[in-house]
């Protein structure tokens, strides 16, 4: 790759820093093996303000929805019932009866 570099700009920086699906960064982070080009590139990117690193745009998930999706469908109603109910020391069995008795 080093021989093919003719223009050093944001695109090259992106290619190098994101190489191997980010694993090169992890190697750099964990200091597992020395990668002179990676070390140099990341320092250049830090030092030269006009070199712009453009990460891939990502979608930030809605955690509550993710949790709802992860709960098996047979547990979902119980999950909601458990969260909606007001739990006190006195009504534990009452709630247990109403949440689990039906299908137990």
């Amino acid at each position: 790759m080093k021989n093919s570099i003719t223009i050093f700009g944001g695109a090259i920086v992106n290619d190098i820093l994101n190489a191997n699906g980010g694993r090169d960064f992890l190697d750099f982070k964990y200091q597992k093996k020395r990668n002179a080009i990676y070390d140099l590139t990341i320092r250049i990117a830090l030092k030269l303000p006009f070199l712009i690193y453009s990460p891939r745009e990502q979608k930030l998930e809605n955690l509550s929805k993710q949790i709802d999706d992860a709960i098996p469908s047979d547990k979902f109603e119980k999950f909601n019932q458990m969260l909606t109910a007001e739990w006190t020391d006195e009504n534990v069995l009452e709630h247990v009866e109403s949440i689990w008795r039906k299908k137990a």
Partner: protein, 797 residues
């Protein structure tokens, strides 16, 4: 991209009076300038409120505030309105309005209800239309725009230093976790699930202990032997026992009938059954036993049953004996007056068979009369003579005495003493007058002819008699008083063919005394007992004598009629009744146990479900954070490195996100400047550096996740940052975020100037809003800064 182009504040915090509008337009950098207290942060609050429907930093103060007015209203009586206008790349505008709901009651004004105070509308062609917050999510192409806004569109003032100042590791970790996404809602769910799990575990423990308790108290295997359907009606086995006397097992309601009490009741029934079976023998045996136990009566019978009919004769005889004894003592005193006064002369003469008591009485009277007539010194001599005689008589008895009892002179021998006393008596007589001599002679005559004779008769009588003791007499009196019982005993013994002739004492007083009576009473008792005869074979095998007696006493009140007429079939009925009751109570307990076991199973299922749900929620939170960190760690390293130019001796290093466990699920997170260290930068960096790190993190999140909304609000970032960090920040913003609109507040004019200079150099559009003057300036590249450079150059030159 959508840019914030205009905000209008009406009656919001310091912005009272006429509505105040700030025109951000499509400027790349808008600087909010002005001293503290002129509302820089209020502008950010207004934008936050307009976009999210609440002001997050208010919540932090919640516990300390309880206002009765609207917290953000400049004038509590007027409406509060924030109008906000956006423009997209194509010049299309949309206007939204966040305002107070009409008719808010006082209770709703509490900060905890703050978000409920507001409603959002969209203004379309000057007409407001009610919408909800999801319209903003849609407009900005976000799954949760409020979350996005707080996470990466708004960098609050001093946000960093707040957790920096906290000494609590937990609080720091919590603050840090906020920077990695909004997981609060999910964490609350997780917390609730964890709480439920605790309650379920505790309930399960309770039920388990109840089950164990029941199992240890009751032998439920009996339930299998239950003879179903046999229901006996209650009847009283012992109807004469009422109230407290009635045994627990005979009552209509048998309380706490457990196995132990059932067995006890059955044992009692067995005792009654045995008593009823052997009642003839029992009652007979009881009679002989009781007779044999009448010890006092038997002793009286042995000692006195033969002699007590002569009780009166014995009494009279004893009285006469006493008369003689008493008379003998009176005569021995030698005092004639005492004898004359106390001696029962006639009775005594009669009893002793002597004649002429009158002679005795007249003689003593005449001697006493003579004595009464003598007086003066002569009578004293006569008295002395009387005592002299008495002394002489007593000395004569003591044959070895040689000393005079009166003067103490020792005469050497008894004979000499005796002679001296006789001589002295003669001398005394010579001193007497005639009358005294006559008296003396009369007295001596009386004594020798009357007193002496009578005394001898008494002594002879007494020596012939052996008088009974007082105890003998009182026992005989008692026997006489108990004559009816003694006669009944005599007849009963005769009817039972119990011989006693050889035992009963024939004489009074009883020969052999107490020991004879006791010994013979034993023999008679034994003869009575021997009449009981042999007991039925099983009688003593079943129970002891005391058990039969107690059963008879307790349950039949010692009434042989009740025992004789008792129908023992009622006992079988009672036993069946008790067993049926016990088994039915056992069934209830078994049902209760079944219910508890059902609950236990349910709780097991509940616990398993809860544990699984906790795992899922925990896992999802961890995965969410992990993904977020993975997404942003390269930009975060680069941005933090760019801002922290001087860090690590200017080598240019960024900050890593370190998850010490390194799994798919994030459990713990630290920010480290060197991978090998475990120390968080919170402990190694200055507050300015940390402020820079937080800005870098927010910008990284913004760069990766911000979709359509271009604006980034930064509230006074330079309070703790040094000049080098500040200049690095400007470089980062104007290069890497040139496509974003930055709205930045600062109270330092030189910072405002530097930012302006840097942005204008890069051909960015800049606006300065002076909030103290409420004026907007658009600095131009060609005028202000060229002049400043020139003047610097000329002064340098």
């Amino acid at each position: 991209m959508i840019t914030l182009s205009k905000v209008t504040l009406k009656n919001f915090k310091v912005y009272g009076g006429e509505p105040y509008t700030i025109n951000f337009e499509d400027n790349r950098l808008v600087l909010l300038d002005g001293p503290n207290g002129y509302g820089k942060t209020s502008v950010f609050d207004a934008i936050e409120l307009a976009l999210t429907g609440t002001i997050r930093r208010l919540l932090i103060l919640e516990s300390r505030q309880n206002p009765s007015d609207i917290v953000v209203a400049h004038n509590g009586d007027n409406d509060v309105v924030i109008m906000i206008e956006f423009i997209n790349d194509h010049g299309n505008k949309r206007v939204f309005q966040r305002s107070l709901k009409p008719n808010i009651n006082n209770a709703a004004r509490r900060i905890s209800n703050f978000s409920d105070l507001w409603e959002i509308k969209e203004i379309i062609d000057d007409v407001s239309q009610a919408i909800d917050d999801s319209a903003l999510d849609l407009y900005f192409n976000s799954k949760d725009f409020s979350r996005d806004f707080w996470l990466f569109h708004y960098i609050e003032q001093e946000e960093t230093s707040r957790f920096l100042k906290s000494n609590s590791e937990a609080q720091r970790a919590e603050e840090l976790s906020k920077l990695f996404g909004d997981t609060v809602e999910s964490e609350q769910k997780l917390q609730k699930l964890t709480d439920i799990k605790k309650r379920l575990s505790s309930a399960r423990r309770d039920i388990k202990s109840k089950i164990d308790n029941i199992r240890s108290l009751h032998n439920l295997s009996n339930i299998n032997n239950l003879s179903a359907g046999e229901t006996e009606q209650h009847i009283f086995a012992l109807p004469w026992l009422v109230g407290e006397k009635s045994p627990f097992w005979d009552q209509s309601t048998v309380t706490q009938l457990n196995e132990q009490r059932l067995n006890k009741a059955i044992t009692e029934l067995d005792k009654i059954r045995a008593l009823s079976t052997y009642r003839d023998f029992f009652l007979r045996s009881r009679r002989y036993h009781r007779a044999a136990q009448e010890r006092e009566l038997i002793e009286l019978y042995i000692g006195y049953s033969k002699t007590y009919p002569n009780h009166q004769g014995v009494e009279a005889d004893y009285k006469n004996y006493q008369l003689v004894k008493r008379s003998s003592d009176i005569l021995a005193s030698g005092d004639l007056k005492l004898i004359a006064k106390n001696l029962e002369v006639v009775q005594l003469f009669l009893f002793l068979g002597l004649d002429n008591p009158e002679n005795f009485i007249s003689s003593i009277d005449s001697v006493i009369e003579l004595a009464d007539k003598s007086n003066g010194l002569a009578s004293i001599y006569s008295e002395i003579l009387k005592h002299h005689k008495g002394m002489h008589e007593s000395i004569q008895v003591q044959s070895s005495e040689t000393t005079c009892g009166l003067c103490g002179h020792d005469y050497g021998s008894h004979e000499a003493l005796n002679k001296a006393i006789i001589d002295h008596g003669h001398w005394l007589r010579t001193e007497l007058g005639d009358k005294e001599r006559i008296l003396l002679t009369a007295r001596e005559f009386f004594e020798s002819n009357h007193t002496f004779v009578l005394s001898k008769a008494c002594t002879d009588f007494l020596s012939r008699r052996d008088p009974p003791s007082q105890i003998d007499l009182s026992r005989m009196a008692k026997a006489a008083a108990s004559n009816e019982r003694l006669e009944r005993l005599r007849k009963w013994l005769a009817s039972e063919n119990i011989s006693d002739e050889d035992l009963v004492a024939q004489d009074f007083p009883v020969r052999g005394g107490d020991s004879y009576i006791s010994e013979k009473a034993d023999v008679l008792s034994e003869r009575i007992r021997s009449r009981i005869g042999p007991s039925p074979e099983e009688y003593h095998v079943l129970f002891g004598e005391d058990v039969y007696e107690r059963t008879y006493t307790e349950y039949f009140e010692k009434d042989h009629d009740k025992l004789r007429s008792f129908d023992s079939s009622v006992l079988d009925h009672k036993e069946n009744f008790l067993k049926a009751r016990y088994f039915s109570s056992l069934t209830e307990i078994a049902e209760q146990l079944l219910k508890l076991e059902g609950q236990e199973q349910l709780l097991d299922v509940g616990l398993a479900d809860t544990t699984k749900l906790i795992d899922i929620v925990n896992n999802q939170i961890g995965q969410y954070r992990k993904k977020l960190i993975t997404d942003i760690e390269i930009p975060f390293y680069i941005y933090s490195g760019k801002i922290l130019q001087s860090h690590q001796a200017g080598l240019g290093q960024g900050v890593f996100i370190k998850d010490p466990l390194g799994n798919d699920v994030l459990k713990n997170v630290r920010l480290v400047s060197d991978w090998k260290t475990d120390h968080d930068i919170m402990n190694t960096m200055s507050s300015g550096q940390i402020s820079a790190v937080v800005i870098a993190l927010t910008l990284a999140l913004n760069r990766v996740y911000a979709k359509d909304f271009s604006t980034i609000l930064i509230d006074d970032p330079v309070q703790t940052m040094d000049d080098i960090n500040m200049s690095s920040l400007v470089e980062l913003l104007r290069n890497d975020f040139s496509d974003r609109q930055i709205i930045l507040s600062t109270h330092e004019e030189k910072v405002a100037r530097y930012f302006t200079y840097k942005y204008i150099k890069h051909s960015g559009k800049v606006k300065i809003v002076n909030l103290m003057q409420r004026k907007e300036y658009v600095p131009t590249n060609s005028y202000v800064y060229r002049g400043a450079i020139k003047s610097e150059a000329s002064s340098a030159g």
